[in-house]
């Protein structure tokens, strides 16, 4: 392999199609190294390690269930609190009927009467205007 390609590989620069092909060929040539690495020994953990892992896994399972219960419990509690707060707010801000004889009741009654009077006037004027145009 020529030096310029080696430099490009070492710098991790993008390779041309032809250079990539040469790299693939070089990797094929290195196959015995791959074989050597594949045959490197493996380490087996001890039974004590495995027992410790089993304990951790068992604990993880319990923890997950506890967390789940806590999550559902706290969720329900939060929802109940939200509903209570909403009920309190709504009940405090809902309009109440005006007391009999109060200023509010007089104003409302005057407003209602005026509305009816305007409605009657409009009907009359409309009829007159219509008649006039005829």
């Amino acid at each position: 392999m020529d030096k310029s390609l080696l430099q490009k590989i070492a710098r991790e620069e993008p390779l041309s199609a032809e250079e990539s092909l040469r790299l693939d060929q070089a990797l094929d040539v290195q196959e015995p190294v791959a074989n050597l690495v594949a045959h490197l020994p493996e380490d087996a953990p001890s039974l004590a390690w495995r027992s410790e892992l089993n304990q951790r896994l068992a604990h993880t399972k319990v923890k997950r269930r506890q967390f789940s219960l806590f999550r559902w419990g706290s969720g329900a509690l939060a929802a109940a609190a939200a509903v209570t707060a909403l009920v309190v707010v709504v009940s405090n801000t809902a309009p109440k009927p005006a007391a009999k004889g109060s200023v509010e009741e007089v104003i409302l009654s005057a407003h209602r009467d005026e509305g009816v009077a305007v409605h009657v006037d409009w009907s009359d004027s409309l009829d007159e205007a219509t008649l006039g145009s005829l």
Binding site: V33, P41, R50, T60
Partner: protein, 213 residues
């Protein structure tokens, strides 16, 4: 005393086939601890081997390997089966090794082209002496090869181990390490050249012995 016991390559446990894997994952999702135990049985040696060579500290490697299986157990419901279980486990292992490495603020040994050899010694064609069956993987050769793996940079080591030791494909490694496939090949080439330099010096004592690590 070491808590590890050596298991040579030929005695390695075969990975689970796809159908068995799927069946075990389905059982695990129904809280079948025994099924998860079978997954641990199948992969604990391989995961430990990978982690041990990555973190280079026995106690830490044992701890990280346990963490790999605990994390896998916790997030098995998120395993979508697009990759193999083995690839998924190695991804968890790789991420944990990277996290540990960052926490410890280790400065990995950087292998440059110069570090793999002044001339082209590392780029020669390996001959029959490289065949592990011919060499019979004596303890000395194992020690030299392990030393070669240990002295290369983390970025070369991870590619070498995942490809040559664990048999993952270029695409899988590229996705895991988040680099282009071409870079995976470049790093694999450099990693193997580094191995060649070290092991070549052992097999042929007249060759220059690498002067690092």
């Amino acid at each position: 005393m070491s808590v590890l016991s050596g298991v040579y390559g030929l005695a390695r446990k075969t990975p689970l086939d796809s159908a068995t894997e799927q069946a075990l994952v389905a059982k695990c999702r129904q809280n079948d601890g025994e099924a998860f135990g079978r997954i641990v049985d199948a992969y604990q040696n391989r995961v430990l081997g990978f982690v041990l060579r990555m973190v280079r500290h026995e106690e830490e490697a044992l701890d990280v390997t346990q963490e790999v299986f605990v994390r896998a157990f916790q997030s098995l419901h998120r395993f979508d089966g697009r990759a193999s279980l083995r690839t998924w486990l190695f991804r968890i292992a790789y991420n944990l090794c990277v996290d540990r490495s960052r926490k410890r603020e280790r400065t990995p040994l950087q292998t440059t082209l110069d570090a793999t050899g002044d001339g082209e010694d590392g780029f020669e064609t390996p001959d029959q002496r490289w065949n592990p069956e011919v060499v019979a993987m004596g303890d000395e050769l194992v020690a030299v090869a392990e030393r070669a793996v240990e002295t290369m940079s983390e970025k070369l080591r991870v590619v070498l181990l995942l490809h040559d030791k664990e048999g993952l494909g270029y695409e899988e490694i590229a996705q895991m390490v988040d680099i282009p496939v071409g870079t995976v090949k470049s790093r694999l080439f450099l990693a193997r050249a580094h191995m060649q330099k070290w092991v070549g010096a052992y097999l042929d004592p007249s060759t220059e012995v690498p002067n690092h690590g």
